[in-house]
Subunit: 334 residues, 2 copies
Amino acid sequence: MGITTKDLAQICGVSRTTVHRALHGTGRINPDTKEMILRVAKENGYRPDLLARGLVKGQTFYIGVVVLDVKNRYFAQMLSTIGAEANKRGYFVNITLHGDDKETEENQLTRLADYHVDGIIVSSVNEGDQYKEFLESLDIPIVSVDNKIAEGIPFVGIDQKQAMMDAAGKVIDRNYEKIVFVCPPINNAGERNVYVHRERLKGFQELMARYGSIETGYLTDWNYLEHLDEMIDPVKKTAFVCTADEFALNIMKRLKKSGLRAGTHYGMIGFDNIDILDYVTPRLTTISNSVEEIAVTAVNLLFDLIEKKKEGIVPEPEEIVKILPYQFIEGETV
Amino acid sequence: MGITTKDLAQICGVSRTTVHRALHGTGRINPDTKEMILRVAKENGYRPDLLARGLVKGQTFYIGVVVLDVKNRYFAQMLSTIGAEANKRGYFVNITLHGDDKETEENQLTRLADYHVDGIIVSSVNEGDQYKEFLESLDIPIVSVDNKIAEGIPFVGIDQKQAMMDAAGKVIDRNYEKIVFVCPPINNAGERNVYVHRERLKGFQELMARYGSIETGYLTDWNYLEHLDEMIDPVKKTAFVCTADEFALNIMKRLKKSGLRAGTHYGMIGFDNIDILDYVTPRLTTISNSVEEIAVTAVNLLFDLIEKKKEGIVPEPEEIVKILPYQFIEGETV
DNA sequence: ATGAAAGCGCTAACAG
DNA sequence: CTGTTAGCGCTTTCAT
């Protein structure tokens, strides 16, 4: 490959240590030799071997990020922010995808750790104490976002349950008489981490329990689009409450074919406030969990943990959990 | 950090070489000692240090990908495909973003190379012979996609010019009397690589030159939304031809406010077929450059180059350029 | 079937 | 101000 410090040393007739000092401007060194070495280095296009450096320093200035899939708008926004934030600190980001596969996620995390990234941010499909053990065995700062993995694992997210209670509350305020909760992912509980959906479901149930007069329905089949007709009450004013904007958009698209319009013929509320909503009419009413803020907070927490680890400090339990605010986004569909 | 082969050797009372053989199932080794070593390795949670391995093997089984921004739907799809394709071959992907900044891109590329990724796929904002020299100095297989950088740099993309000629041709077939070409990025020529837009512009101009009777207009200002009224002819049937779906969607959204609908009151054609189009009505007519195919081809080409480099073979000029087919996507807007 | 020794390229501790 | 030496953890001849 390229030229090494050893080569430079030979060319310049000095020791490798001197070359090192010149390259890093550290320690005492004769300005002339320094300049000479730097010149030679430049002429020969010297570039440090980062693997070698990482090996000896045990630090790579990389943070790893593992998420579901970059096609998901939400993660896309998150990654952008994480990247920018890390760059500010002179760090680079290694993004990898697990594609909703638990084992892949594990492999990606292991691999990142074995490449000595300095820390990892993960939106996990795994959960539970066994997975917690695995994460801890990696012996590297890890921050989880959105999907909580287990108590004790650093976490950044919003209060999903409360957010859903607020969302459904708005629907109730608008005098809907039947509310249909749409949440296919809940089917996959057990198979994968559905923390956010579980929490949202809890919030919905807890709220509805207080309103006996309102009829509730549940659409938790992945073929939910096939069952829309049965759900819409012919007389009762019906609204859908979805645990993801995507479901809401799909339903709106389907019902449009039957001439039904959200906000007019039925109510609709989503969750996440993904940014393609800007292109869709009517504007979907939804909840925003301000992904940028989550991303920034996650990065900050991660660097905090990296710092602490370097200094041998064990963080307090309350320091590793950050619950952020969310926002109700008023649209035209409820 | 964790336990090393040296530790394992000591625990098992053998040499590091034997440990290595056990771990890799290579060379002659007593089945019993092998089993014993593997057991001990497992018990102690041995994991190889990938930096060290990479350092000595000069190969990391990583490929690097550098793109504008993952928020861009197009790249998101590309990254997904690249990731899947690389994983199939036992490779992992290190995704980094340049955010439209030329220098950042250069830094990302340098850093990836210095970490000895085995190859890089880049959608570049840079171009020209000087940049070509830089890329070659990295001494690592690199494949560029969509935006051509310079002759001689491996490239995967479609025939942008021809595609635009086809697109505009369709509009002409539909008897529009005025055609407005929308392409703000062309403004940034010189500042950054606008290869695809430049080619599309060429295609448009070349085609329109054949039709003197049709009036043409150009909207190349980033404030293009402010100038829509001037562009739409009160009598002549007007159509917009955009070099990106995003521009088309923005225009449609704006004109909807004036009660004008694409496909009814004016024509509209986009470019790229980004997948959020599924959620927008009327369905935008556009050109698809089948990003998945581009991604797969790019990965294949990259691995081909990696292989060739390993064997010291210099690829033929015609082997490093792949021009793929595109598709006209019939919608409702033209 | 096993081991000794050298080396990947860089950094760091210790002399001088 | 400069050099010597050792070592990060792994792989790879070359011996035995």
